[in-house]
């Protein structure tokens, strides 16, 4: 199959007809370049959108309490509702199968000190489940454990940036830091995909903080994550049931929107996935549109090329070229030019995307880039299109009687 002479003929034809080569090459390179850039920018938009929601589990439900806004069963409106430890037990007892994790939280802003370095941080009292919910990665040591909860240990797991602030280059692991005048041992550090705010948090065992601050059974808020097997509608109906049950438990009017508040990520996810779908469709549309423009371009050029070469093909036929050799010559040329030009377009396109880099972040375009596979796929589609586009006129040219081709001027 591989015939050096055959390729020499093709290379000569390409080389000696530069205008033609450049013309068709340019069309392909331009189409692939546009495809790459538009696709990359589309992906950039998507990246921005996704990053807005990164960092927390997609399955989280946030629950907190406030004052009643309606009188109910003889109780006045404006009555403060307090979530307590037994609410956690209540949720676990009634909805265990719908949960994959739960933690009560107490949030405080407290001053943390280590050897003269100090700053104010969010200190959050939690159950171990929070690590999974926040998708926090353990960088060193370990996270808060059930044993810490049982023994009310004075230990903390600190965010990566807290360690950086207070310890500089040193490791915080095993050191003691003073928070609000009380000494805690650092048992681990973590990073969080949610970004710098989430990495400036200090997590402490829930029971420890609850004992030290007030020694009551009160808690600030509850974060739970629903079972990922639930679909969006099931998750929303679960959180509706949960709100209803808690309202009843706390003597809140069913129509009171203020006292027991709940935020379900499932609702956001629904909106997000709808938006992503539209965005993906737009990107797809742009991609297909560019490809079609490229296909039409290469087709026109192939028709033109064959037309221009009719006489040459007639000469070749008179000298003994078989129809097959004519077709294969034209197609090989077309495939070679398309492949090389497609590659050049790909290089330019990705080059442009790279040079754009972070400069478009203010336009909601983050890390514009393309999957190499997608672009190679697009190039292959163009090659196939160029081949088909070249094949039809090449076949016609191969069929034309040599005498007609020779008379062509």
């Amino acid at each position: 199959m591989f015939d050096i002479d055959h390729w020499r003929e093709i290379f000569q034809s390409i080389n000696k007809n530069k205008l033609r080569t450049i013309l068709s090459g340019f069309t392909i390179a331009f189409a692939i370049m546009l495809f790459t850039i538009l696709f990359g920018i589309g992906n950039g938009l998507r990246n921005t959108f996704q990053s807005q929601f990164a960092g927390d589990s997609m399955y989280s439900i946030y629950l907190w309490a406030s004052k009643t806004t309606k009188p109910y069963k003889g109780l006045q409106s404006g009555r403060p509702i307090q979530l307590r430890n037994d609410d956690i037990d209540f949720i676990i007892d009634n909805y265990d199968s719908k949960l994959s994790g739960i933690t009560p939280k107490i949030d405080k802003r407290l001053q943390a000190v280590y050897k003269g370095e100090q700053d104010t941080y969010q200190v959050t009292a939690v159950y171990p489940d929070v690590q999974k919910m926040e998708q926090a990665e353990i960088e060193s040591g370990r996270f808060i454990s059930l044993l810490d909860l049982q023994q009310r240990n004075k230990v903390v797991s600190i965010g990566r940036l807290v360690e950086q602030d207070l310890f500089g280059q040193l490791s915080a692991l095993g050191k003691n830091i003073t928070i609000d005048g009380i000494s805690y041992k650092v048992i681990g550090t973590f990073s969080d995909p949610g970004g710098s705010n989430d990495e400036r948090i200090i997590y402490a065992p829930f029971t420890t903080i609850q004992r030290l601050y007030g020694n009551t059974d009160e808690l600030g808020s509850v974060t739970l994550s629903y079972n990922p097997n639930l679909n969006v509608n099931q998750a929303i109906s679960f959180s509706n049931n949960l709100t209803k049950a808690l309202k009843e438990k706390h003597g809140v009017a069913p129509s009171d929107q203020g006292a027991i508040r709940l935020f379900n990520m499932a609702e956001v996810n629904r909106d997000t996935s709808n938006f992503m779908l539209v965005l993906n469709l737009i990107i797809l549309f742009i991609g297909i549109g560019t490809l079609i423009a490229g296909i039409i371009g290469i087709s026109n050029i192939m028709v033109y090329i064959v037309r221009e070469r009719t006489k040459e093909l007639g000469i070749r036929k008179a000298l003994g070229a078989t129809p097959r050799s004519i077709i294969s010559m034209i197609m090989m040329e077309s495939i070679l030019i398309t492949a090389i030009a497609g590659y050049v377009g790909l290089l330019i396109g990705t080059g442009v995307l790279k040079s754009l880099g972070t400069s478009l972040e203010q336009y909601f375009i983050t890390n514009p880039s393309v999957n190499t596979g997608v672009v190679i796929g697009a190039t292959i589609i163009l090659i196939i299109a160029g081949t088909i586009a070249g094949y039809l006129p090449a076949k016609r040219a191969a069929r034309i009687k040599p005498i007609d081709a020779l008379n062509d001027n």
Partner: protein, 228 residues
């Protein structure tokens, strides 16, 4: 070498048919130097195209080198053209982006001769038409006479059985015309069968046999004894 019997050819023109060749009989033996004469419309070009396997006849018989030519597919015709026939055209029909040497070696490429061998043989034939020094020039850098000599070298390079020349001097002045005719006479002397189509009396007179065509019929077929 060439046998035609009762050869007919017509072209459709709208609903009508233009009957171009009306039952030709012609026999050309090996080593002959024949000119086919006729004014335009006499059918001489059509005859040459059929003889050259560039076109198909409708009726009658055509035997080329002992082989009956009938309903050839494109591939077979291409192979026969490559093997048995060499063409010389009025407008030279060189490929403009190929050098003289590459043009001459092209038929050998289609008969599957290796590159080195091809170039060697092509060079021999270029030297035969005294254009060895022009091997690496493009057609655009050569005169009409030189181009036609390249075309003749290209026609000869596969050592065909017959050279078909269609108005080979039609685009040349009289001095270069006679030079080209001299080459044709020389290769005829070496035994090559040559068929020249022309409407110029003084060209035809240089060949050994003149066949006159008029309105698709052979009017006369005479040997030129003074050239024999």
């Amino acid at each position: 070498m060439i046998e035609i019997k009762n050869l007919h050819k017509s072209y459709p023109i709208g609903k009508d048919k233009l009957h171009v060749l009306k039952g030709l009989n012609l026999s050309i033996k090996e080593g002959e130097f024949v000119s086919i004469m006729g004014s335009s419309g006499s059918g001489k070009s059509t005859l040459l195209n059929i003889l050259g396997l560039l076109d198909e006849h409708d009726e009658g018989e055509y035997i080329l080198n002992g082989q009956v030519i009938q309903k050839l597919n494109e591939k077979k015709a291409a192979i026969l053209r490559n093997k048995f026939l060499g063409f010389v055209f009025q407008s030279f029909n060189l490929i403009n982006y190929k050098t003289a040497l590459e043009n001459v070696s092209l038929p050998l490429y289609y008969s599957g001769v290796g590159r080195k061998e091809r170039q060697k043989i092509a060079m021999e034939y270029l030297e035969k038409v005294e254009l060895g020094a022009w091997a690496n020039h493009l057609p655009s850098e050569m005169s009409g006479g030189q181009k036609q000599r390249v075309a003749i070298a290209r026609a000869l390079v596969t050592q065909p059985k017959v050279i078909l020349a269609d108005e080979p001097t039609g685009a040349l002045d009289s001095a270069t015309s006679s030079a080209v005719m001299q080459i044709l006479k020389d290769i005829n002397k070496e035994g090559m069968t040559i068929l020249v189509i022309t409407h110029e009396e003084d060209i035809a007179e240089q060949t050994k046999r003149i066949v006159r065509l008029k309105d698709g019929i052979i009017m006369s077929d005479e040997l030129q004894l003074q050239n024999a």
